[in-house]
């Protein structure tokens, strides 16, 4: 595997060499010709177009170059591109990122690029100035974390999260700072000139943990929710605490004498800064949510509001020198729930994507620069200081977790056991924030270079050593795991049932705890907040939301199985049958086949599905909405193709894939491939909403797809109303439709209905009336008489497509 990596790295190296040389040469060469050819003495080179001064002297130049004008954005673009290429590179060979965290790889690439730049004596770009970092690089990272924070577990564990984030960081900072100060007193190391304030400042910097790598490992092995959320939340709020402490100590480090009053003021400031940030965040979050209430007419700029408001929260907090990280995180947390209900599904997707994109590019760049800077800056290496830093960082982290868990455990419903504590302690990687903070230290800190070196050392040490070893270790000690792939109605129903039960039992016991407050908050939320902030403010149970989502997903999956895109390649059997059926002369539907087909369709009305991606990872979008835009098109077109009469479509493209039933259940018919025929699907596109891509943590009543998808059974079949056997479903559709029409104030009733002649509707509902009394479970029972409509279809296609493949129905997988 190493070999693979190096080979890959070699390939990348080539690209980077090219790119960086290109970049390097452009950085220098063009400037000289310009200054030589053009005579522009006083004008600043990047001031206005330069072609015109030339024109005075000579003829109109045919070709000019004005590099200085574009230099900064150009170089930034190139760097971003370079870092992104690196990311692509890692994922070409997939297994690398499983065993080696991405941050390691990025740093390695950075090291290589740094090496190249060092050898050609190119200065690294001065991107990481304090302002650039705090105003442009940090907000996307934090917004990303805040926005994708799994809300339910977070609030369930908020005490522990804050405990570890605030007290843990203080513990680490002060512990490491003091111990290092003690070390500084030893003459042998030659670092007596570092005073206590500077030591504390340094300790603060290196106690900011950044467990991106750890989180992705945790996701993969799906450790239990409590551990995950504590690590997640810790890294988030710990940034805030660190930045606050950093600013404080930075201030203190410049003071000659620290008086006791200053300590108290510092503590007071700490709270003002933290709570103030939260206040601004909540304020801006609500304003953002309120704004999106009115954006339904300007969908195209809808996502912008989210970014502008969160950035505004950040900047305003920065203006008042309070915790801007807190502000942006709380802003994201607050508005997310409401905004996602207000904006359209596509805006929602856009927001998620852009947040992810910005966050991940920012982080990529920081890690990348970390590698570059490691090579290109001058280091001050002090064995004693750096080794002790490593040692103390390790010891204090471990001790901190041990002690703090002992304190918090009695207050937890589910205490952390030793394994969890190990995961917590070992997950304390240092990362981007530490590096950026140390790099932006003011120059008047005497031993800045030593600090930079020590920080880089500790980052490299933790990221490489711990980052690589944590996966095997976690798997080895077998930390308690949570299955997060549960997205079934039953689970949701029972979760809610349990929540209510527990809230009820707690009421019975007369004690107040988490569930009690959740209950009260939900009530307040439903009565007041939602009314103000959400356009269409009918509260919706999470069960209903999940149901809708699953229904739609399911519909799409069935359709997708029909068109055969997502699912696996056809097996040999199906290929064989395909051949066989192609060879056979065309024949009509057999009754048994139809029965089979209906059986499959009705059984799959609602099918349990398994999903692979669980958490909303730091670097992975919740992916259940990825292919939906395509799917929905296909959805619409398939529906059209399922309509009686549409079977006559004759074109079967070469790309069409064939699927068959399990052997022996051959069911040949031919459906035109879905994506061939959509003419008016654009309309469908805009009208049928995709299911909200909920994060894996279900919060009650969060679904932006509400009211866009009327509750109903799969409507795939609604357009084949003449088929007798399907009227159960048709009937349900009808009921769903009428319900929607009556209850929904929203006009987004799915469009396809409008395409239907009214007579079909009538027919459907009359059938419905006939069979209304029937038991719902009888869906499984199929009348065995062959329905006339499909048999009667003239079928003059040459190719026979076995169309339905039983979707992956694997109960064992559950």
């Amino acid at each position: 595997m190493d070999l693979h990596f190096f080979r890959r790295a070699g390939g990348l190296l080539l690209v980077f060499t090219l790119l960086s040389l290109l970049h390097g040469s452009r950085g220098e060469v063009p400037t000289r010709p310009i200054s030589a050819v053009t005579i522009l003495p006083p004008v600043k080179p990047d001031d206005g177009p330069q072609a015109f001064p030339n024109a005075d002297k000579a003829n109109l130049p045919v070709f000019t170059m004005d590099y200085p004008r574009i230099q900064i954005p150009f170089e930034i673009t190139l760097w971003v591109l370079l870092a992104s290429f690196a990311k692509i590179g890692f994922h070409v060979y997939h297994k690398i990122t499983i065993w080696v965290p991405e941050s390691c790889l990025l740093i390695s690439i950075g090291l290589i690029v740094g090496g190249i730049m060092f050898s050609v004596h190119e200065e690294p770009p001065a991107v990481l100035s304090s302002n650039v970092f705090f105003l442009y690089m940090l907000p996307p990272i934090v917004l990303d974390s805040g926005y994708f924070m799994p809300t339910r577990p977070f609030f369930e564990n908020i005490g522990t999260v804050l405990w570890f984030a605030v007290v843990g960081t203080l513990w680490n900072s002060i512990g490491i700072g003091m111990s290092l100060f003690a070390i500084c007193q030893i003459e042998a190391f030659g670092v007596q000139d570092i005073n206590l304030q500077e030591n504390l400042l340094f300790a603060t910097i290196i106690s900011a943990v950044d467990p991106v790598a750890v989180l992705s490992v945790f996701e993969d092995v799906s450790v239990n929710e409590q551990l995950y959320i504590v690590v997640f939340g810790e890294c988030l709020f710990n940034d805030a605490v660190t930045v606050v402490l950093y600013n404080m100590f930075n201030f203190v480090a410049e003071m000659p004498v620290v008086e006791p009053v200053d300590v108290f003021l510092g503590v007071a400031r700490f709270f003002v800064v933290g709570l103030g940030g939260m206040g601004f965040g909540v304020l801006f979050g609500f304003v953002a949510a309120f704004t999106t209430r009115f954006t339904s007419r300007v969908r195209e700029i809808e996502p912008l509001f989210i970014f502008m408001y969160s950035y505004l929260a950040y900047l305003v907090a920065e203006l008042f020198a309070i915790s801007s990280i807190m502000a942006i995180v709380t802003c994201a947390l607050t508005m997310k729930y409401y905004v996602e209900e207000n904006v359209s599904q596509r805006s929602c997707t856009t927001i998620r994507h852009v947040v992810k994109m910005l966050g991940s590019i920012s982080e990529t760049l920081i890690f990348f620069f970390l590698g570059v800077v490691t090579i290109t800056t001058e280091h001050e290496w002090n064995w004693g200081y750096i080794l002790f830093t490593l040692l103390f960082a390790f010891i204090w982290r471990g001790l901190g977790v041990l002690v703090l868990t002992q304190i918090i455990n009695p207050f937890r419903t589910i205490p952390f056991n030793m394994k969890d504590q190990f995961g917590l302690a070992y997950g304390g990687l240092r990362g981007a924030i530490s590096f950026a903070l140390v790099f932006t230290l003011p120059d008047n800190i005497g031993r800045k270079q030593l600090f930079v070196t020590a920080t880089i050392a500790i980052i490299l040490f933790t990221v490489f050593l711990q980052g690589i070893s944590i996966r095997p270790l976690i798997e080895y000690i077998n930390v308690r795991r949570t299955n997060r792939n549960l997205d079934t109605i039953n689970v949701e129903v029972h979760c809610r049932l349990m929540e209510h039960t527990i809230a009820g039992i707690e009421d019975l016991c007369g004690q107040w705890s988490h569930f009690y407050w959740k209950d009260k908050f939900m009530k307040f939320n439903n009565r007041i907040l939602r009314r103000i902030l959400i356009r269409d403010n009918r509260a919706e149970s999470s069960i209903v939301a999940l149901y809708k989502k699953l229904e739609l997903q399911n519909a799409m999956e069935i359709l997708d199985t029909v068109t055969g895109d997502i699912s696996a390649a056809p097996s040999i059997v199906s290929l064989y049958e395909e051949k066989k059926s192609a060879a056979k002369p065309k024949k009509k539907f057999k009754a048994a086949d139809l029965k089979n087909m209906h059986d499959i369709l009705s059984k799959n009305m609602y099918k349990i599905r398994q999903r692979t991606v669980a958490f909303t990872g730091k670097h992975a979008l919740p992916n259940d909405s990825q292919t939906k835009e395509i799917l929905i098109r296909r959805h619409a077109s398939i529906r059209r193709s399922l309509r009686p009469g549409s079977f006559q479509t004759t074109v079967v493209p070469k790309s069409h894939k064939y699927f068959s039933l399990p052997a022996g259940k051959s069911l040949d018919s031919k459906f035109p491939p879905g994506r061939l025929s959509y003419t008016d699907d654009q309309e469908t596109m805009s009208e049928v909403a995709y299911p909200s891509s909920r994060s894996r943590f279900q919060q009650p009543a969060r679904s932006s797809s509400r009211a866009m998808m009327p509750l109903r059974r799969l409507d795939t079949l609604q357009e084949a109303p003449s088929v007798d056997t399907l009227n159960e479903n048709t009937g349900r559709t009808e009921r769903g439709m009428s319900r929607t029409k009556s209850s929904s104030s929203d006009s987004r009733v799915p469009a396809p209905r409008r395409h239907l002649p009214p007579s079909i509707d009538n027919e459907g509902s009359s059938v419905d009336n006939l069979r209304n009394g029937q038991h719902e479970v009888e869906e499984e029972e199929q009348p065995s008489s062959p329905p006339p409509a499909w048999v009667a279809e003239p079928r003059d296609n040459a190719a026979q497509n076995p169309l339905l493949r039983r979707p992956q129905w694997n109960p064992k997988k559950m």
């Binding site: 239990n224 929710e225 009820g504 009918r538 069960i543 319900r739």
Partner: protein
Amino acid sequence: MGASQTRSDHEHQHLTDKTGFSLEQIKNLHKRFQQLSGNEETISKEDLDRIPALANNPIKKQIIGAFFDKRNQHQDEVGSCDEIGFEQFLMVMSHFRPPTLKTTDEEKEAMRKEKLRFLFNMHDTDNDGTITLEEYRKVVEELLSKSGAIGQEAAKAIADAAMLEVASTNVPHMAPDDFYEGITFEHFEQILKGLEMESRMHIRFLDVDTTTMRCGKSTS
């Protein structure tokens, strides 16, 4: 007074062994029990009905019903009683004890099963060992009853979907003419197999008396 104190202490000791609650927890719960019952020996459905905090709970009926359900009291009887004593009250409560660090895996598994059984019994109102569609529908309806505009139709559809889900999980190769008559406990276990009960169906029973410390409530 002293005599009765020791007597109740002794009783509590007995209950500790039986239910696993600590002495303080039992005392707290006992206090609450007496408060609810109006210092009677037993508690009736009406007593529980009157709890104001419970009024908004959508599944209030089921919760109260669970307390009077004999199946939840570790006895082999079925049916429900009209009044329960403190011991039965504790027995029901003990379903919600969180595991401690010392709990072994087997014990955890047993606890899990108990909790599932408790939930199952909440569904299975007629004691016949299966959750029929009607029973399921009813629960879903009540769950949704507080969430506004969604009517019975939605609840019905959801319950049906859930039922289908159970059916297809457990009887994957059902013939078209088969009729899935209801969820048995085994099937119930099966569908909730992956669900982590630890974090969801526990109550941290407080060791201290909460009624006296209502002001400092926003902790945890």
